[in-house]
């Protein structure tokens, strides 16, 4: 892999579903690329296809047409070197926190003993040291999602694919999770594709924010967020931060009004600032 080259790329990637009422274009001709180590957010209203695009990158959905490339290879199915995080923590309720974190190690048939220290270290770093033997039902929603993040990182994947991972959490926990994730990625550098419908979250976390929207859905904007890292949470109050949020919100609204004119009743976008 050449440094600075495209690590992840989508070229005219499309996904079409056949339903009873006809063809549904979930993603149409999506183009984007990411360099190794970049944090990219896919931002957009519900139903803009951002999650579908992410699942295509995870190899869980096949592309109807176009091409997806990850680490120099076309994505044809799930890969061992990706870690996926869903909206729900999806922990196994009968396993302890530590065993849940080690779940990928078991599935990938790696040696448990070699990853034990790493699993403990990850839990320590997200503030869950001492919780190794708890079961998921003993944890709060935020803690469970932290376990899910540790699980996604335990086998040291190159890419982290996150599908609205914090959208089920309350606003305060969500802010905390953003800091946790940001600090974690300072330590374990990964290429991250992060799907969200929170503008603030996208700006705080990302190197680049891609706005998806319109009908049929397309890439409306590719905005670079040049804040240096590590980023203190206080940058959210800075003028530039507010400015980026404003640009993004306007883009989303325009994308929507555009679709409103072409389609009479578009659903109201759920975008929180």
């Amino acid at each position: 892999m050449t440094q600075g080259g495209d690590f992840i790329s989508a070229v005219q990637a499309s996904k079409t579903y056949t339903t009873r009422s006809g063809l549904v274009h979930a993603v149409q001709g999506a183009n984007f690329s990411a360099k190794e180590g970049q944090f990219i957010s896919l931002l957009g209203p519900s139903g803009c296809g951002k999650s579908t695009l992410l699942m295509m990158l995870a190899g869980l959905e096949s592309a109807s047409s176009g091409k997806l490339v990850l680490a120099g290879e076309p994505v044809l199915g799930p890969r061992r070197d990706t870690g996926v995080i869903f909206q729900d923590a999806t922990l196994l309720p009968w396993k302890s926190v530590l065993d849940n974190v080690l779940f990928p190690v078991d599935i990938l048939k790696l040696a448990r003993s070699e990853y034990l220290d790493r699993a403990r270290e990850l839990l320590e770093r997200v503030g869950l040291g001492g919780f190794e033997d708890k079961r998921p039902h003993e944890l709060s929603g935020g803690m469970r999602q932290r376990v899910a993040i540790c699980r996604a990182l335990v086998h040291d994947p190159k890419v982290l694919l996150m599908d609205e991972p914090f959208s089920a959490l309350d606003a305060i926990t969500r802010d905390q999770m953003n800091v946790v994730l940001s600090e974690l990625l300072e330590r374990y550098r990964k290429t991250v594709i992060f799907v969200t419908h929170s503008i603030r979250e996208a700006v705080y976390l990302s190197d680049r924010v891609l706005v998806m929207g319109g009908r049929p859905s397309s890439m409306l904007l590719d905005l670079e967020i040049p804040f240096p890292r590590p980023r203190p949470f206080e940058i959210e109050e800075s003028q530039e931060f507010v400015g980026y949020c404003r640009t993004l919100r306007l883009t989303i609204e325009q994308g929507h009004s555009h679709s409103d004119s072409s389609r009479a009743k578009a659903p109201v976008a759920k975008v929180s600032t």
């Binding site: 799930p78 009968w94 320590e124 997200v126 905390q176 949470f233």
Partner: protein, 279 residues
């Protein structure tokens, strides 16, 4: 570690920390669940005992609990001898039904063709009053224990199939997606996610199946057997020996309780490893 994280952790531990609900309180509530039903049962037995005596009901119509108990002690050898085939055949029928039922449920969960072809027929099959078919099993399998075993399997496997299928359907689809994203094989998904998640459902089906298997064996014994508690009940009541008949029924209850208890114990063991404690 930054202070933000530490702060958030302490906030969260407060809300989800260990519950210190009073030991006495749990003791009181658990004793209520044990003591109250026992009190009620004792009251009913007492009323039975003295009601029969006071009203002068003849023993052939309704013997008192104490006389049934006396007969159970006096004839325990006969009762135990007849319990043996009944219990063994019930347990055997249940075991076969579990293996067949779970296997069929796995087949139906994984093969679409099998599901579409078989499932509606299975449901239709369930509508047949199965007890009516018992005499046919004698024709097909003879008067030996084979016919009773087959009949016990026949009437007890269905609840296992249905609940196991429900168990597989209850599996969190995101959990399966997570496994797939990790390149898990179908077998890995089955053993690490689907089967453990279905276990509570499988056990609830097995508990129903256990009682059904006993019913199947008893019916078989009513029809043909030369031994077993069902045979003893028919034999005794035919000679108007109600006390012995009731003693056999009481023994059957005890045996049924034992078998059910074994399934419940297995469930408790499984729950320790795969259970989702309600918290």
């Amino acid at each position: 570690m930054s202070t933000t994280i530490e702060k958030s952790q302490s906030i969260e531990t407060e809300t989800t920390g260990p519950k210190k609900s009073g030991f006495l309180q749990t003791l009181a509530s658990s004793s209520a669940t044990v003591i109250l039903p026992l009190l009620l049962a004792s009251a009913v037995l007492l009323m039975w005992e003295y009601g029969v005596q006071l009203a002068g009901v003849p023993e052939v119509i309704l013997p008192s609990p104490s006389s049934i108990f006396k007969v159970m002690i006096a004839k325990h050898e006969i009762l135990l001898r007849h319990s043996q085939p009944t219990i063994l055949e019930s347990a055997g029928g249940f075991a076969l039904a579990s293996i067949l039922g779970i296997s069929l449920a796995i087949l139906l969960s994984y093969s679409r063709i099998a599901r579409e072809a078989l499932y509606p027929n299975l449901v239709f099959f369930q509508l047949i009053p199965k007890i009516a078919l018992a005499p046919l099993f004698i024709i097909w399998f003879g008067i030996g224990s084979e016919s009773r075993l087959a009949f016990a399997v026949f009437i007890s496997f269905f609840p296992i199939v249905i609940s196991t299928i429900a168990g597989f359907a209850s599996v969190d689809t995101n959990m399966v997606r997570l496994c797939r994203s990790l390149t898990a094989t179908e077998w890995q998904i089955f053993t690490s996610v689907k089967f453990p998640a279905a276990l509570p459902y499988i056990f609830s089906g097995m508990k129903v199946a256990m009682t059904m298997a006993i019913i199947g064996v008893i019916i078989g014994e009513f029809i043909t057997a030369q031994q077993g508690l069902g045979y003893l009940i028919v034999f005794a009541t035919a000679r108007a020996d109600t006390v012995v008949g009731m003693a056999a029924i009481a023994t059957l209850c005890a045996g049924g309780l034992l078998l059910y208890g074994l399934v419940a114990a297995a469930e408790a063991v499984a729950n320790r490893y795969y259970g989702v404690p309600r918290g």
